[in-house]
Structure formats: C-alpha cells, structure tokens
Amino acid sequence: MSFILTISLSIAAYSIAVLGTFMLTGMNGLFSLGQAAFMGLGAYVSAIMVVNYNLPFALAVLIAILVAMGLAVLVGFATLRIRQDFFALATFGFGQAVTGLMTEMVNVTGGAMGFSNIPRLTTPTLAFTSLAVAIFFVWGFRKSHFGKDSLAIRSNELAAKVEGIDVFKHKLTVFVLSAAFAAYAGVLMAFHTRYVEPAMYGWIASVTWIIIVFFGGRDSLTGTVLGSIILLAAPEALRFTTAWRTLIYCVLILVIINLRPRGLFGTWELSLRPILNLFKPKKHQEVQ
C-alpha cells in the first residue's frame, strides 16, 4: 500500500471519531476527555474477537460498537444529570480506567506491549465509504429536529428545558452516538495499522479531537471535516522532526483561534446551491 493511501486511510478513520466529537462537543457543548477510550474499546474488542475467537469481521465490529455504546450509557447515565464539568471529569476517569484495564489484563490484551497480528481488513473502499456515510449521517443530524434541539441545549440549557426538550435524554443519546462513532473509528484503525496499544488512547487524544473541531469551526460541518483533514495531514506534510511539527501545529491552532474564534470556516458550509442556481431560469425584471 502506498504511503499516501496509508495516511489517507488513517485520516479517514480518525475523521469519523472527530465527527463524533463534533456532535458531542461542537453541537451539544459537552466536553468528553474519554472519547479516545471508546476508540480503544472498539479497537481492542473487535481485534480480540477476530484474532482470539475467529469471529467474522462484521460481527466483531457490531459487538465492539455495542460494548462501547453500553458503557457510554452507564457513564452518561451516572453523570449527565449533574454539572457539565462533572461529565468532563467522569469521562476522563473512565478513559484512565479503560486504559488502565488494557494495561493490566496482560493475558487478554497483551498489556503495555500492545496487541498485534491483527489481519488487515480495512480496505480503502470500506474506510472511505464509512467516512462518507458518517458525514452524511452528521449532515442529516444537523438538519433534523433532534440536531436543532442540540444547538438549543448548547446555547441555553434552561431555555431548552422550558421549551420541553428532555435535556438529559438528549445528551445521553448524543453521547452514546459519539461513542459509537469513536468505537467504529477504532475498529477501522486497528484493522488498518494491525497493532493497538493502550498508550494510543489517553486523554490527550480526546483533547486533540476537540481542538480539531474548534479549529475548523464548531458551527460548520465542512469546517470540521476539512479541519480534521488539514490537521491530521499537517504532521505528515510538515517534514520536520515530530516535536517541531507538533509545535508548529499548536502555534497554527493558537493563531486561528485568536484571530478567528469561530474557527477557520466559521459558519460556512459547502453546498451545491450556487451550482444549482446557475441552471435555474433567470427571473426577468419587470419592465415598466
């Protein structure tokens, strides 16, 4: 597989996780420091199912996503009723607990040495189709009544409650959805790089996704997708040592957030309308 294709596959997989964060943090204003742990769960569960139990890939994916969603229900149920910073704290603790368990259960997970020998089942077709479906899903989510409720909760929770939105149920649903996105991204990554280790799923990874969402613009789906492509590709494109390119990347983000707080793309969306308008019959001006 060529270098460019390998990188594009990783970017596609991570972009799906970022889209989950876009729904959760960008649209609902909930900060989860444990999103990467859901990605890790997806990766580990599916890899173990396929390698150790010889389950078919599709079934393993389904189980992995369901496990992540189930745990998200538990964590969300316990903490989403109380304040937002509690949610951030609880998801952080959850992430630490998950990576701690991955390191501890050496017999099953291989511990800190990681889990390898995963077959390469993520084909380019699968990865890019998944990304397209995910983008389409989030696009529909934003257009839907449900997505509009999200924005209402983000801008004023009390007002949303008064309007009759069940805020707790809404947040829980979005959190579980975003966990499913992260878990699926984890599956794609695990069967692409063929190796997983607990250190890949710490809280800094979750924070990076939040940064990406804000970089592209949390009010723009186009911004989030392009932002994640730009920022995930940037470390590869800037051919310095890793430390230098991460530093440059951080400075870039600081500049963007300082100069354009609403993100690189603001509220701008890519749309077909200008192109469609070209084909519309022009309205003739009334001649007096």
Partner: protein, 295 residues
C-alpha cells in the same frame, strides 16, 4: 509493624497530596477569576521544573536558589501564557470554550518545547542537591524530599492565605473571583488583577513543578499532571480553594494507598468508581460551594 507500614503510607500519601494541592490551588485560582479550565497551568509547571533542573544540573546551584528559580520561572511563563493564549480572546469577549481550547493547545505547545530542548527521555535532579536523604523516626523512614514538599506546601499556603486575606491585591483577586464585571464597575483595573492572578498561580505552579521534579522524576510529559489539579478542583467544589486543597490531599493519599494495595494498573479503575460515587452522593463537592456557570 502493620501500623507502621500504614503510617508510612500515610506520610507518603500526604506529601504527594501536598504537591497535588499546590497544583490544584494554582489551577483553581485562575478558574475562579476567569471561569475556565486552565490546562496551560501544566505547561507552566513543566517549564519551571526544567528551569530548576538546568540551574541545579549545569550551574550546580544549591537547593533553595533552585526552588526560587523554579517559582520565578513559573510566574514569568504564566504571564506569557496569559498574553499569548488568553488576552486577545478576552478582549474580544470570546466564549469560555475558546479559552479551554487555547489552554490545552498551550499545554501541548510547551510540552513540545521541552521535548525539542531535552528529548523525550526521563531526567532527574542531581543526587547532590540534598545532603541528607532520609530521616529515621523510630521505625519510620521519611524521605527528606517528602518532608520538603510538606513543609514548603504549608509555607506556600500560609503566604497565599495572607496575600488573599490581608493585601489589597488579594482582596481584589477575591472580588474578581466573585464577579468580574462588578469588580470592574468598582473602579478596579481588571486587566491588572488578571495578570496578578496569573502571577500568583504561576508562583504556585513553579513551586509544585520543582517539588514534583525533585521527589519523582522529570519528563516532558510532566505537564499532564495538571489533570490532578482538575480532578481535585472538581471534587473539591469549584470556587472554594480550601475544598480544592482538601480534595487534592485526599486524592494523593488514596492514590498512594491504592498503588500499594492493588497495584498501579487497577488504581485508575478504583479511582474512577470512587469519583463517580462521590459525585453522585455529594455533587456540591467537599466544600459544599455550588457553582453552575461553567464551560
């Protein structure tokens, strides 16, 4: 004998908790005034720890100047962070979430600076920094670095308490914590107060960085320990420095106990469960100050 082992663990836990308390209070000071989670505090702490390391290792300075260098570096870096990452957004009246995003970016950036300068490996302060290594109290063996952390934390908190209660600037910081807009209406220069808050927070951060570096080891990822400050301040009840300090010490003691009994792998699992139970039982935190506004 069993009692002695227990007592030994309590002392170890208290000294770790003391360093956590320094981190947490430095973090909470900024939170109280600007109401956002300042993760860049971890970067401040990391740079100060390495500044102390440079003067100790290359210039062979003795202990007290090393600590002073760390503290001063903390103040300078904290002010720079405020200028680079927060000042402009604040003047534009940006939302709180943007502060959070720039603060974590700042944490990552400062970490990279350390990696570029020192490499990703672990370092430790020179062995000669402390003349005496341990003190024997009967059957107890107390490491001098632990004792140092405890004593310096107590001194730092006494000074902080004095500043916040008695001096003009401290009262202004407390007023700003209460209501930033009302404070500015009273004719207080809010920009100065914010810089002062960052200086005080940076001083504490610098001290905690050097102390953590001396008693544990140094790596560029040292800044990520700021998360302990975050945990302690949420558990302690945001808005109350006393509650935050208590929560931090409790966290330190718990961690030491759990690592000693069930090992470091399962510790985060138990801490997570305890945290969730605590938040469900007592959502207002240790201190009981309830706080609803938060990004």
């Amino acid at each position: 004998m069993q009692v002695m082992v227990l007592l030994q663990q309590v002392i170890n836990g208290l000294s770790l908790g003391a360093v956590y308390a320094l981190i947490a209070v430095g973090y909470a000071l900024v939170f109280n005034v600007l109401k956002f989670s300042n993760f860049a505090h971890g970067g401040v702490l990391g740079i100060s720890a390495y500044a102390g390391y440079i003067v100790a290792n290359q210039l062979h300075w003795p202990l007290i100047p090393v600590i002073l260098v760390g503290i001063l570096t903390g103040a300078v870096v904290a002010v720079l962070v405020e200028l680079i990452a927060f000042r402009w957004i604040r003047l534009q009246k940006g939302q709180l979430v943007y502060f959070f995003v720039t603060s974590v970016t700042m944490l990552m950036a400062l970490e990279q600076v350390l990696i570029i300068r020192f490499g990703a490996s672990f370092e430790s302060f020179p062995y000669t920094l402390l003349k005496v290594k341990v003190i024997h109290l009967g059957e107890l063996t107390v490491s001098i670095t632990y004792l140092l952390s405890l004593v310096l934390t107590i001194i730092a908190f006494s000074v902080l308490l004095y500043i916040l209660k008695k001096t003009k600037i401290g009262i202004a910081i407390r007023a700003a914590s209460n209501d930033l807009v009302a404070t500015s209406l009273m004719g207080i220069n809010v920009d100065q107060i914010i810089v002062a808050t960052f200086i005080v927070s940076g001083l504490l951060g610098g001290l905690s960085g050097v102390l953590y570096g001396i008693s544990a080891s140094l790596s560029p990822q040292i800044g990520q320990i700021v998360i302990k400050g975050f945990i302690a301040s949420v558990l302690g009840g945001l808005g109350s420095l006393k509650g935050v300090a208590i929560a931090a010490v409790a966290l330190g003691v718990f961690e030491v106990f759990l690592v000693a009994t069930i090992g470091s792998g399962l510790t985060p699992v138990v801490i997570f469960l305890l945290m969730v139970i605590f938040l469900l039982v007592r959502p207002q935190g240790f201190a009981g100050v309830s706080f609803t506004d938060k990004a």
